[in-house]
Each structure stands twice: as structure tokens, then as C-alpha cells.
């Protein structure tokens, strides 16, 4: 076993940390919270220039041929700063499945655009139940000649309001096995008969309702095989869970650092509150939980990187991160006292984002259920 990063990975981490702390201060994040678009196009282009958008693409598509573990490390740094760019939507939810399941034409056409920061993508998956389950995909696509007509509604679609393309999970066939009959389409987000509205959330990060009224999608726009789309979605969900977990891991570390620094500065009863065991033990508990998330995360990301079946490890990491992120925020607000409950302080911003982190990439119930099944229960 080896818990260390390679020299290159260390460099990636340090340079990402340095870049994001100067280019993306929290004040800017909070400002974009209230912005209609909610993302920073300038930052997005700078990230493209740094090669981050194509980090895991082969060189022929304008990428840097990095590993999934590299991507995880980068994502952790982005989570630390709550970076307001559609990176997760574009890369984790769409570019990774395009790389794995896309046709050569699709890859050639779309991946270089993504690497250059010229196209924003997202995945429209969830419907009214909000559950990551095959049975919950009800939106229909009906074949008419060479075109499918997509009709129905998707909810909680991240960044759809700024997207150029949307991957849509639709039911194309009714079959007994609910995993069968699902197809994944690439749809132009500006296509006629589509309506995109923002669903206001406590996190301020943008999620949308996307309504399809007989929207046309050509056969060529299918990713993977028609009616076998669950395979692609399963691939996406495993990676999305890990990368969301990475964001949460970075965010947790940031919150712990914030609470620990505050405990050293804040004087009450003539001494720093961090000298009291009630505060110390709370911080120690937080540290243990944050490290638990980190190691579970790295194990899962490593497994994907080297191509091992990692379903169990992935779900363990995400279920843990969901629980810990929320708990860490609550502890940190408690340590900060009233200032932590204000609009001016960062800690509340993280807390408001906790729910978005929890449900993106699968909620705790779903991941614990996967763990239970894998345990043989």
C-alpha cells in the first residue's frame, strides 16, 4: 500500500490550490451565488488554458492524458473553494461517458470543444422522485423514422441554464427489467421546444427544471447503445459519486481549517476558546471524520484509476462524505457562534451547499443500499 501522491500529483494539487485561492476568493463565490448565471466565465476559460478541462482526455482531443486519480485531486481543490464553474456537470457527468462510450465522431466533435472551454454540458437524469434509480426514469423518447421525440420533464439538472448540450436519460422501451429500455441522448440545449427554468435552492448553485415538448434527437446523438443506456448511467454515477465526494472532501478540510483558526483567535473568558476541551474535542472529532472521508475517497478513486471493480468502495466513500460534510458544517457553525450564522461569513455558504453535495452523485440511502447489497445482505 502507498498513501502518497506522485510528484506530479503534488504539483497539480499545489498549483490548483494556489491558483484558486487567488483567482477565486470566497467573496466572488458569494457574489455569484446571487448572480443569474451563477458562474464565472473568465475563470472557466483560465481553467481551460491550464489544461484542467481536458485533464483526463487523450492528447488527440486536446487533453493531458491524466488519470482519474489526478482528476480527483483537482476536484478536491475545487471543492475546497466552492469554485463557481460548471466543471462537475461538464466533465464528471458528460465528458467521462463521452470518452468511454462515445462514437469516434462524437468524441472528435465534442471533446476538443470541451477541453477548450467552448462548450458547457450537463446531464438530465432525475425526475420527480429525485432518486438515482433506473425505475425512476420515466421521461419518454419515441422513435419516428430516424429521429426520436423526447417528451417529459427533468428536475435538479445542474447548470442546464448555461449549458450548450444536455445528455438526457430517456425511456425508449418498456421492459420488465427496469434497467432495460433506457437510452442516453445528446440534445442541443438551445433546441426548439425546450424550456429551462432555475429551481431556486438554498445553496444558490444553479439547478434547473428542463421541460421537453417533443424535442427531436437524431439516432446519431445516442451515447452508447439504444435501450442499454443504464450501463452508461451506472458508469457515470460511479464516477460522479467519487468526484462529488472529492469536492466534499476538499470542502470539509476548508471548513475544519476555518473552525480551527477561529478557535485559536476568538478570546472568551480571557483565553482562546480553542483552549477549552469542549471545543478541542469537537475539533478532534471533526478531524477524524474528515480524514475518514479522505482515505475512503482516495481508495475509491485509485480503484477506478487502475480499473478495479470499486462499486463498494465508491459507495462507502460517498455515503460517508454525505454524512460528514453536513456534520462538519454544523460543528463549525457552532464553534464560530453567531458570526457563523451571518451572510458575511463563509461557513454558512458551505452549510447551504451541503444538501447539493449530498444529492449530487447519489444520496446516502442509495449508497448504503449498494454497500448492503455488496455485503451480501
Amino acid at each position: 500500500m502507498d498513501f502518497s501522491l506522485t510528484e506530479q500529483q503534488e504539483m497539480l494539487r499545489l498549483s490548483a490550490r494556489g491558483f484558486l485561492s487567488t483567482e477565486c476568493p470566497k467573496a466572488r463565490v458569494r457574489e455569484l451565488d446571487r448572480d443569474e448565471k451563477g458562474y464565472d466565465p473568465h475563470l472557466w476559460h483560465r481553467m481551460a488554458e491550464l489544461g484542467w478541462l481536458g485533464l483526463v482526455f487523450p492528447e488527440e482531443y486536446g487533453g493531458m492524458a491524466g488519470s482519474f486519480l489526478d482528476l480527483t485531486i483537482l476536484m478536491e481543490e475545487m471543492g475546497r473553494n466552492l469554485v463557481p464553474v460548471p466543471f462537475f456537470s461538464t466533465i464528471a457527468l458528460c465528458a467521462l461517458p463521452l470518452l468511454e462510450y462515445g462514437t469516434p465522431e462524437q468524441k472528435k466533435r465534442f471533446l476538443p470543444q470541451i477541453a477548450k472551454g467552448e462548450a458547457i454540458w450537463t446531464l438530465a437524469l432525475l425526475e420527480s422522485s429525485g432518486k438515482y434509480e433506473a425505475a425512476e426514469i420515466r421521461l419518454k423518447a419515441v422513435l419516428r423514422d430516424k429521429n426520436y421525440l423526447i417528451h417529459g420533464r427533468k428536475l435538479f439538472v445542474p447548470d442546464a441554464h448555461i449549458a450548450d448540450y444536455i445528455l438526457v436519460a430517456a425511456r425508449t422501451e418498456e421492459s420488465k427489467r427496469l434497467e432495460d429500455g433506457i437510452t442516453l441522448f445528446i440534445v442541443d440545449a438551445k433546441a426548439p421546444n425546450m424550456k429551462i427554468d432555475i429551481m431556486p435552492t438554498i445553496g444558490g448553485n444553479k439547478q434547473c427544471r428542463v421541460s421537453f415538448d417533443r424535442v427531436r434527437a437524431h439516432e446519431d446523438s445516442i451515447v452508447g447503445t439504444a435501450s442499454d443506456g443504464w450501463q452508461v448511467l451506472d458508469f457515470i454515477l460511479q464516477r460522479a459519486a467519487v468526484l462529488k465526494c472529492a469536492e466534499a472532501s476538499g470542502a470539509c478540510q476548508a471548513i475544519l481549517d476555518m473552525a480551527n483558526s477561529y478557535a485559536k483567535e476568538r478570546i472568551q473568558f480571557d483565553r482562546p476558546i480553542g483552549s477549552f476541551q469542549a471545543i478541542q474535542h469537537r475539533l478532534a472529532d471533526m478531524l477524524i471524520e474528515v480524514e475518514a472521508v479522505q482515505y475512503l475517497l482516495y481508495q475509491a478513486a485509485w480503484g477506478i484509476s487502475v480499473g478495479l471493480p470499486s462499486r463498494w468502495q465508491i459507495s462507502a466513500a460517498k455515503a460517508k462524505a454525505n454524512q460528514v460534510f453536513q456534520q462538519i458544517c454544523i460543528h463549525a457553525i457552532g464553534i464560530h457562534g453567531a458570526i457563523g450564522y451571518t451572510m458575511d461569513h463563509d461557513v454558512g455558504l458551505y452549510y447551504r451547499r451541503a444538501k447539493a453535495m449530498e444529492f449530487a452523485g447519489g444520496d446516502s440511502d442509495i449508497h448504503r443500499e449498494i454497500v448492503a447489497s455488496e455485503l451480501g445482505l
Binding site: M1, D2, F3, S4, L5, L69, N260, A263, K264, R271, P272, G274, S275, F276, Q277, I279, Q280, H281, L283, A284, D285, L287, I288, E291, A292, Y295, L296, Y298, Q299, W302, G303, L308, Q313, A316, A319, K320, D365, R368, E369, V371, A372, L375, G376, L377
Partner: protein, 400 residues
Amino acid sequence: MNFGLSQKELTLREEIRRFAQAELPPGWRRTTLIDGECRDFDFEVSMSRKLAQRGWLVMSWPEQYGGRDASLMEQTVYEMEVAYWGIPGALMGISGTQWVGPCLMLFGTEEQKKKYLPLIASGEKDGIWCTGYSEPNAGSDFANIRTRAVKEGDNYIINGQKIWTSAAHRARWCWLAARTDFNVAKKHHGISIFIVDMKSPGVTVNPILNYYGRHHFNEVFFDNVEVPVSNLVGEENRGWYLLMQSLAFERRSIAPMTYGNFKWVLEQLIEYANQTKYKSRLLSQNPMFRNKLAELAIDLETLKLFAFQVAWRIGRGEIPVYESSRNKIMSDEVMKRVAIVGAEILGIYSQADPDSEWAQMNGAVHGAYLGFPGQAIAAGTAEVEKSIIAQFKLGLPKSY
């Protein structure tokens, strides 16, 4: 990064599995091996001897002292696996293999190393140690110890009382902390470490039964016990550093053992839930139990990663500071959660005597339920460990 075991480590695990299947009686009853002790002492020693013959008992020690220069990673795999199978005698009453030996290698004289290390490595009764740290007024505030050692000629004369001394009734030697100087500015100065022959005149061992009637720890009295000066370990009055080092060694080994032991218990619980019906539905189909067992598995996985991370750091020549405390806390949490969730799954039968026919799974959960509150105190309470993390990792002021 790499989270896989090496071929060598996988082979070792397989060898231990085969050893356990060949050497343990069918239906081996483990009850509470978290006490590290089996009730058939002769059987326990026979197993220590066999483990020693295979070169496993102290595998990470240098060959010259009876080990086989194994990595700490291999040692961790060994600890996980012997705990998983419940092989008794794997720790020889704990002290000798886990911290006396490693501390002697760091701080002992050549003569001490030559005399005591091979004894421990042999797996024989004469290699069993106990550790004399706690006293009635020196628990978490351990620097408070009053047991005194006064130098007279070629001997130290030791007077005082130790308490909660695990395995003192089995041990041939005691790794003893005593005060050699009372006139010190700070009370953790003036402490020294001695090797005491438990057969010395003036040593009295009285059993203390734990709340479920097991004899695991003792009180030990020292009444004018003569100890040769050659049995002082390290420098006089500078024992505190050795103590801290020994506690770090002790805390390191807890996580792998707890992981192995409770991985077995969790597997038993899963099997039980897959076979037991309530209202014509298997317990394993009850979403509440599925959820809880999944959470336990995630906690155990965390403990495993923590255990390997410490072994990895030490293997790189680094000294883990707060990690051993972190792992101790996590071990205690895992024990507690498995015991409590396990008892919930067993329902009303969770109150059965672990030795009775009413206790499912050979009393594994019952033993854990009885044992965990005590284990959580040994080697440092959660409160002490959290204060260590706060001070040494988070950089907060010392608070005790």
C-alpha cells in the same frame, strides 16, 4: 497511491488462514477475544509457541532477536488476520510483543536485548510480560505515579502499588514505571522504567474481576522488591519519553486487531440476518438493518485504512504523532457501534450469557457488548486521545 496488498502480504494472509483452520478446534469458541485472552491458558501458550515457530509472533523484529525482518505492513496484515480468526496467544499477553520488545530495541542495553527479546520471540511462558503503569491515583493523569524506586548499592528497592495490570497473573516480567525522583519541577520528570522479575520476593498479585466476572486485570503490590540496577531501561529519571513511545506502539496495534476481530463479528451478523426471519421476512430484508449494517461496514473500512496508513508512515521512517490516537478513538467507536447494532439485531437474546446455548454466534456480539466499555478506557480514554489530537495535530493549547 496504491490501496492493494502485495503478493507477499496476500500470501501471508492465506498462510494464516490455513494455520487457523488446521490448528484451532472445530467450532472454536471465541467469546471476548478483545480481552486478548483465552480461558485455557495452556492452549493459549501452545498457540503462541506455534506462531513463534512459524516466525510470525514478532515478525517485524530483526532476525537476530527472533523475528524475520518483516515490514510493518506485513505485521499489520498479520494482526488483522489473527484477530479475524481469533487465534489465541498471538499477542502473548500483549505487552511483550507489542511494546516491551520494540522499546527495548530502541532504548535497552545490549545485555537486555540479548536476554529478553529472544524470550518474548520464543512464545514460551517465560516471555510473557505485564505492564505496571496505572496506579490508584494515576489513571489518565499518569505522571502522578507514586510507586518509588530507591537506589541502594547494586539494586533499586521498589515500593508501591499498581492497578488494572492486565495479565499480571500470567506474566513472568513486569515493565514497570516508578518514580526515582520526587523533587522535580514537573511531575513527568523523575520517572524511570524497570524490568521486574515477577517471581521476586515482595511482589503480590491480587485479581480484580471485571463486571462480568472475568479475571483479566489485577492489582500488584511491590513491597521492598529488589531489582538489579542492570534492569533499569534507558536513563534514570527520563522514563517519560519511553512511556510515550510505548503508548504509541500500543495504540498502533489496537486498530488492526480491532479491525480483524470486528470484521469477523460483522460477517457473523450478516449471516445471521440472512438466515433469521421475523414476520416471514428475513432480517436482512429490513431496510433499517440493511442501512445500519452498511454503516458499520463503512466504519470498519475506515478503520482498516487508518490502520494501514499508520503502518505505511512508520514504514517510511516517519513517526506518527496524532494518528495512533485517531486510530484508538476509531477502534473504540467501531467496537461500540458493532456491539450496539449487533445487540439490536439479536433483540431480546442479546442479554443471554455469552457462554450459554442462548447466545447466538458463539457469543461474539454479547462479548463485544460486555467488553467495549472497558476496552475504550484501556491505553487512553477517548477524552485523553482527543486532547492529544487537539494539541499535536490541531496546534491548540494544552488543556490538561
